[in-house]
Symmetry: C2
Subunit: 161 residues, 2 copies
């Protein structure tokens, strides 16, 4: 069956912007600069990056960081993480926690955020979690609702000096 | 200096209801029944409990479950957990996540919830976290504000069938 032009374009975008796991070489591809669009992250040396990368690698599937690399520019343009919490509650259930989702502000409108959330959500499901949760600003609520999330409660925080 | 009657009472309560880490023998002291006051937790065998206890023990200070045992009854009357998330954000910062806080409904009014939150919060601070966060219902918001937390954002959830 012939592909329509629309389908061809979608498949090509799909290939161009596939989600993969973070690699140690991604620091050189703008991974830290991308995180700066989300919050403070202004001084991470190569050594600190590599140490933290190894800390997280040890956790294997329990803590996964997804990235999307723009193959044209060789830059990381989206990221998000999910880690698995093991509980006693819910009959020794597991919960996926999604954190630090960001899409490069210059490349919005290509549904990379949705693709990233699907990747992280599917990972939590595959790991046997009974739910996956995240905290977001009121402004981003509608986006997560489109991804299949519902508001559950409020997030409280205490910052240490 | 002589202790006032009030101080003596407070010190005695302090001793009676001190927070300690979960022990493997706590299943026999009503730990699972206490969790049932929070959410579903109706079928945890001794084997499942011990397996999960060991899963979490391996994580050491990265995942701590606090409990308060009522020395008079030998029952666990309060619990709460905190785990440490390692990030790249915030210059490879760390965040404490508080989960599954519950105080036995028959023993409220003795500030055991506040004591538990202080224990979990102090642990996150000691571990070098830049913040500690939790999700709660709108009804419990005032309690956490008294503990020094502020509302930050909204919690979204997706439940798997």
């Amino acid at each position: 069956m012939l592909e329509s032009k629309q389908e061809k374009m979608e498949n090509s975008e799909e290939q161009k912007y596939r989600v993969r796991r973070l690699e140690i070489s991604d620091k050189g591809k703008g991974f830290i600069e991308l995180l700066q669009q989300l919050s403070v992250c202004d001084s991470v040396s190569d050594k600190e990056f590599e140490d933290r990368f190894r800390d997280l690698s040890v956790l294997g599937d329990e803590h996964v960081i997804g990235v999307i690399e723009d193959e044209a520019s060789g830059k990381i343009v989206a990221t998000g993480s999910v880690f698995i919490e093991k509980k006693f509650l819910r009959n020794c259930g597991k919960v996926g926690h999604i954190e630090d989702v960001v899409v490069d502000s210059s490349i919005r409108g290509k549904h990379l955020g949705k693709r990233m959330i699907e990747f992280l959500t599917e990972h939590a499901r595959d790991m046997g979690c009974y739910k996956v949760i995240l905290d977001c600003s009121v402004e981003n609520k509608a986006f997560y609702e489109k991804c299949g999330f519902q508001q559950k409660s409020v997030q409280m925080a205490m910052y240490f000096a």
